[in-house]
Symmetry: D2
Subunit: 126 residues, 4 copies
């Protein structure tokens, strides 16, 4: 079992490889600072530029949201939730932080394995 | 195993019962019409008025989104994702409809079992 | 969203309907009595006589084990875990009871929805 | 997010560290050879010698079974499934192999993060 990591695709020459890396990578979108005890929306979205298939034998089956070593939430999908057309799997989790966060997301493609996002740090203030 | 169903709490006398029903019920919030093949945001949120505890031995462990008899997605949470304070578990799923939707949500409380939302119909047009 | 229930297939005339009901129904296999505080093996198996497809667009995606209103465990599968041939999805959960159990299992088929097993009572003694 | 890996505890001096590593590590127990197209039982069990707590704020929330980069199955538990006493989380998955397997298991502790088993190779013959 190995974990694939995102690589900045502007540093990559081959178009097919850019596409492959981008469409499998989960990206975390959220505010960079938050209030302790207040709800924070954290979006996990697959692919920044390139869409991923939603075929029965090739789709994104689940994504996980982690804070450091803690698995806060997991969303599991069926093939076809994106209408069986290429797209960007997306889910908004809502969490209530009590201290600074170090968020990462994982995503599992049924053909191409496990992918880890870059870490996103959220400063949490009183 | 039984499934608890939402009952309009304005029809209920006792405050404790209003609270109990409302905070355990998942509610679906989404547009009532959508375009075929375009992304639709579907929010599942627990409780319309009353918040639910987020204690280690009493929390909302998962929610599911169903279209008719098809389970589109499930989100699973750890206790503490809401900061161990009472709140409204919430998640936004994004789906791409190809025909009319009949959405329901299920939510599981680790102390008070399984709860089903009212059905929400979404008309999907070309 | 509706839940399909097992019906004793010996009471059913049509072979196709026997097959349909049997292969979608989860069955609980376990000892009828157990010791408090000792591990109990609980098998959830789909179909008593008829196997279910394991196709990418038609498979058993998950099973759940319930004790009364409490969801003890869930097992989620990918299509292909049974080698893409018809078979009986099966999982053994191990639980440690502290009082009498009323077990039910749920199973979700990606084409034919949610199915609930008959209840199995386990007497738990000191 | 980091992944903790099993280390042979006979090489470790401190008892507390032996305990810590062993009780968090998933172990795969299964036959070393299998027939193509026939059901294979794969047990994932936490801890070889030391039991893990099953407390509401400290338990094994899920285990996953992987074949190479493919996530075959996941089992998710509630706190209390082991009677709120220390024990070994255990689940038997049944899979049908079509070619040689390289199995690994992952386990998530709500306090001490993600742990990966050693790889187990299963030779699959016609």
């Amino acid at each position: 079992m190995k974990i694939n990591r995102y690589v900045d695709i502007s540093t990559i020459d081959r178009d097919a490889k850019k596409d492959y890396i981008d469409r499998h990578s989960p990206f975390i979108h959220c505010a960079k600072s938050a209030k302790k005890g207040e709800k924070l929306k954290v979006t996990v979205k697959l692919g920044d530029e390139y869409p991923h298939p939603d075929d029965f034998d090739h789709y994104i089956a689940w994504v996980q949201l982690w804070n450091g070593e803690s698995n806060l939430a997991q969303a599991t999908f069926v093939a076809g939730a994106l209408g069986n057309q290429a797209g960007h799997v997306e889910v908004d989790f809502y969490i209530v932080p009590t201290r600074n966060l170090k968020l990462t997301a994982m995503a599992f493609c049924t053909k191409h394995g496990l992918w880890q996002s870059d870490e996103v740090v959220v400063e949490v203030t009183e």
